[in-house]
C-alpha cells in the first residue's frame, strides 16, 4: 500500500481525557495499549507506545501547572497509530534533550529523547487556541 491509498484509509478516533496528575498516567498507558491491540502491532511495539504516551503525559505534569486535564487523541488507521497529546498550559518552548549518556541528574531530560527513539514521527504542533500539541506516529511493522 502506498502513501496515497493509506491516506484515504478509514481513520477511527478514540479520545481520552485524564486529570493532570501522576496517578492517572497509568490509565493513559493502558488505554493506548488497548487501542494499539486493535491494530496489528507487535507486543514490543505496544510496549513502545505505552512508554511514549507515558513520557508525553509525564511532561504535561512536570512542565505545566494548574488543574487542567491532559487530552489524548488516538487516531487509528489500518497501518498506523497517531497519538496527539495536549495539555492546556503549555507555555515553555520545548528544549532539545541533553546528549545521550550525559544525563543531568534526577531531572532527567530523557523524555522527548525516548519518545523520538520509539516513535516513527514526532512533532510539536502549535494550535490556533494557544497550547502546543505533541503529535507522534508509529507505523505497524515499521
Amino acid at each position: 500500500m502506498n502513501a496515497a491509498t493509506a491516506a484515504v484509509g478509514r481513520i477511527e478516533t478514540v479520545e481520552l481525557r485524564i486529570p493532570r496528575k501522576a496517578e492517572w498516567v497509568a490509565v493513559a498507558r493502558l488505554a493506548v495499549a488497548a487501542v494499539a491491540n486493535r491494530l496489528a502491532f507487535s507486543v514490543e511495539d505496544i510496549e513502545d507506545l505505552k512508554l511514549a504516551i507515558a513520557e508525553a503525559c509525564t511532561n504535561c505534569i512536570r512542565h505545566t501547572n494548574g488543574n487542567a486535564s491532559i487530552d489524548i487523541v488516538c487516531e487509528a488507521e489500518p497501518d498506523l497509530l497517531r497519538l496527539i497529546v495536549r495539555d492546556h498550559c503549555f507555555d515553555l518552548p520545548p528544549q532539545r534533550p541533553r546528549a545521550v549518556g550525559e544525563p543531568a541528574g534526577d531531572a532527567g531530560g530523557l523524555g522527548i529523547f525516548i519518545i523520538e527513539s520509539l516513535m516513527d514521527h514526532v512533532a510539536f504542533e502549535p494550535t490556533a487556541n494557544g497550547p502546543t500539541e505533541l503529535v507522534m506516529t508509529k507505523r505497524v511493522g515499521a
Binding site: A26, L30, T58, G101, P103, D106, A107, G108
Partner: protein, 114 residues
C-alpha cells in the same frame, strides 16, 4: 499498576533493592525514598534488582541516575539486575548502559560491586 520495594542487606555492606511492578511518575517517588534512605544511612554500594519490573520510564531512570550520582560522590556504585528485554532496551536507547553496570543475575551484580 503499582510498585513493591524490598530492601535486603547483603555481604560486604552491600544492599539489594528489589523492585517489582511498574515504575512511572506515580510510583517512582516510592523508589526514590527507599534509595535515598539507604544513602542517608551511609550505604553506598547498591544492587537494584529490576527482574520483576514490568515497566520503567524516564522518571524511574531519573531516580536510578540520581542515586548513582549520590553514591559515586562517596566512592560507591549502583549495579542493576535486568533480564526483561523491553526494560533492557530502554537502557540501550538512552545510552544508560554505558553508565550503569547491568547484570543478568543478582550474584554477578553483587560480585561486580567490589
Amino acid at each position: 499498576m503499582d510498585i513493591k520495594v524490598q530492601v535486603r542487606e547483603s555481604e560486604d555492606d552491600a544492599y539489594v533493592v528489589e523492585l517489582s511492578g511498574e515504575i512511572d511518575v506515580y510510583t517512582s517517588p516510592k523508589v526514590k525514598d527507599a534509595i535515598t534512605e539507604l544513602i542517608d544511612q551511609g550505604h553506598y554500594n547498591l544492587v537494584i534488582n529490576l527482574e520483576k519490573v514490568r515497566y520503567i520510564d524516564s522518571t524511574g531512570l531519573g531516580v536510578l541516575i540520581g542515586g548513582l550520582k549520590r553514591v559515586r560522590e562517596h566512592g560507591g556504585s549502583v549495579n542493576l539486575v535486568c533480564t526483561n528485554p523491553q526494560i533492557r532496551k530502554i537502557f540501550d536507547i538512552t545510552g544508560l548502559v554505558k553508565i550503569f553496570g547491568i547484570f543478568e543475575n543478582e550474584q554477578d551484580a553483587k560480585k561486580a560491586l567490589v
